[in-house]
Symmetry: C2
Subunit: 439 residues, 2 copies
């Protein structure tokens, strides 16, 4: 792999605040970092011998960040749909996880998810699942940037017989990937209602010790809020704040049923939010107050959640849907305008994951996580404004190249580090054998 | 063009009520009509010499119906986004239409729209625009099934200096396509607030004379309802009913701000509804009571509306979004379940357009409007239930073949009757010259 690369032949959207698109621009990459961004002629003159990647007249922009997902749940895609959340979770998803999930199958599901993610223009994923060390190894091998974690619950998980075992696995994960250039280990207590106060405190201490991100589900459903109010006399956010769990390293997923006071609290504690509009809609959980979060000055990124409740891993599609959703719900078509939406998918998501200094914009010195998007289809014609195109017309299938840390992982729509046919065949075989009734 | 064709190599979803998917099925076509549907071995034995189209292991189902659109507005895609409806319409869209739209440019915009539609699996479009005869000629040439019309307003249109001229053009259109196998002419008074009572009556008489569909925008915005209540003392639906405009041949687009009484009235008069969720959200118009429409027993199909307010012509995407939207808004994840959603896209849309006896399901004797969808991508894996796949994971880019009246119009993702490169180049050139400020 060469240590240099020039991506050219397209319009560059750096996603730096206040900048204009660079028509016929290019990005020069050295040793995985962005070296130079500008007019193609100048960049190519600066790096005359570097290998080139042609964007084919399309858009060149930072890769998308998926700020909350459960990658290996791709194996449960379409297992259970159109059900109430409780029925979905208790009668279908949890039993299927118990039957299906091992280190080996999680590795497979993670590979499948990475393939789908790269083809959707994703360069960073924030994963909360089990067998976190395996997930980290798989993603490191593929070359996809990630936050990885080991889910901690009060109950046994597919990976850990006990919460103590999950905490031990978390520590091993933190040690293993402490200095990894792509994989950032995190601590993942599942939710305020599923992890005891003492264990939440242990998880927070572990995150503190390693200065690691802490990801947690927060205020996903009305029932959760009611339960916490009943049992603790506090909203989920206030309860976690009270326990001292929340900090600028916290990634709070969902935050659907959250009050203005809670938002102020999250803002004060500098918590980042991963909003998951499609999953929240599909499970009937509700609609998060995203415009209010942004107005409050919270860091926000988009998550897909797992494929069992989405059913895809396509943050661009989900962000597009969010833009439409909030325009319709508020009656204000100026809400979540095009450029803001693409900021949330890139710099916004990077900020939520604590990676704003390393990724999210095409800025010299940052790591080279870049996607190239074709604009040759009829649905892309005419193309007046690149941000409006991304926000209202572009599709995952338009993603042509994806580069992470300077390494092309998707080139002309072909995955370079994943045996896609092998992964698909293995996933199909596994799912066919794992369906309810096939045992 | 051969008069026989067998589509095989996939799972057949006939969309007939109560039927199960036919694994390894096939559809035999003779003279544009569906001759036989069943197990591939049997169908192939019945038609041994027929040319074959291989679905590549994917899904074979009726083509999608786009029940309300303005095709040529593809030329205005991305011209104006993130604006209030009034600013969008009065400061951007109407001036651009006056500058841009002629018979020649409408032909181009219609070709562009047909290309996008076919690639999204659409086999029937219901178009409301200007230069309807040109639109009909273009679509007949391409081979796409359509309802076409000439927009009638109280004001001059790009095609007609006066409402009387628009009515004359409508009559010409009705006469021209009266017996056309693919193009069904319709009458299109724009909306209750933009067409006088006398002209609405004239339009309805014309539709009556030709037994033609009548399409009209209805109750799209709160402002429209307020205006009609103020000026006529009636809701838009009650006002049209009072005028005798509504019948089982009426296609009412939008119906966003519509009361339970209005719904009962539409049901009683057997009006069909084309719901346009994405356009309604994007313009901040609101959320139509779709679950209530279905509960009331109304015929309903999905429309994309024009590309200036969507910004694509992808009914599958829009239906998927609607399923998520209504689950989230109602808090009930069982709303608009997968199979029901695909019914609305096929048989439902056909019913709204008065074509239920000719298209919408793979039933012997019906016309052969069929799409084949690939299921080879990571986002399609594993595939447990084909309806859940279509409702929650499939994408326009998965559409592989599209057949209308037995004629393959998209084959292995290539358009057979449209010079796509030529259309794209012409549309780009036109749009570049037509932007505000370039004159």
């Amino acid at each position: 792999m060469s240590s240099e690369l020039v991506i050219h032949g397209g319009t560059v959207l750096t996603m730096e605040s206040g900048t204009q698109p660079i028509a016929n621009g290019a990005v020069g990459i050295r040793n995985g970092l962005i070296a130079v961004v500008g007019a193609a002629a100048e960049v190519l003159a600066t790096m005359p011998g570097a290998p080139r990647l042609d964007a084919g007249g399309g858009l060149i922009l930072p890769g998308f960040v998926n700020a909350h997902t459960h990658l290996a749940m791709t194996l449960l895609r379409g297992f259970a749909d159109d059900l109430t959340l409780r029925e979905w979770l208790e009668q279908h998803i949890w039993p299927a996880e118990r039957r299906l999930m091992s280190a080996q199958t999680v590795a497979l599901g993670t590979r499948l998810a990475a393939a789908e993610s790269l083809r959707a223009g994703v360069t960073t994923v924030c994963d909360m699942y089990f067998f976190g060390t395996t997930v980290g190894d798989v993603l490191a091998d593929i070359g996809l940037r990630a936050l990885v974690s080991e889910g901690i619950l009060d109950y046994p998980t597919p990976a850990a017989d006990s919460p103590e075992a999950a905490l031990r696995l978390s520590r091993e994960l933190l040690e293993r990937f402490r200095h990894h250039p792509l994989i950032r280990p995190a601590v993942a207590p599942h939710a305020p209602y599923s992890v005891s106060a003492a264990r939440l405190a242990s998880a927070a201490e572990l995150a503190e010790e390693f200065e690691a991100p802490l990801m947690i589900h927060l205020a996903e459903t009305r029932q959760e809020v009611e339960q916490l109010l009943r049992d603790k006399g506090l909203s989920p956010a206030a309860y976690l704040a009270d326990l001292g769990i929340l900090s600028e390293r916290t990634i709070a997923a969902h935050c659907v049923h959250i009050s203005p006071d809670d938002l102020a609290l999250l803002r004060e504690l500098e918590v980042g939010v991963a909003t998951n509009p499609v999953s929240n809609l599909k499970l009937g959980s509700g609609i998060a107050p995203l415009p209010q979060m942004l107005a409050a000055g919270l860091r926000v990124g988009f998550g897909t959640d797992g494929a069992a409740s989405n059913n895809t891993l396509d943050p661009l599609r989900d962000a597009q849907l969010a833009s439409l959703l909030y325009k319709g719900v508020t009656g204000d078509p100026t809400v979540l305008p095009a450029r803001k939406l693409i900021e949330l998918l890139t710099v916004g998501g990077a900020g939520v994951l604590g990676l704003a200094d390393r990724i999210g914009s095409l800025t010299p010195g940052k790591e080279a996580d870049i996607l190239c998007l074709d604009v040759n289809g009829p649905h892309a014609t005419p193309l007046v404004d690149p941000f409006a195109h991304l926000a209202y017309a572009a599709r995952a299938s338009d993603v042509r190249h994806v580069v992470v840390r300077g390494r092309p992982l998707l080139q002309d729509r072909t995955l370079t580090t994943i045996d896609l046919d092998g992964v698909l065949a293995a996933a199909r075989a596994l799912a066919a054998g794992a369906r309810p009734g096939s045992h």
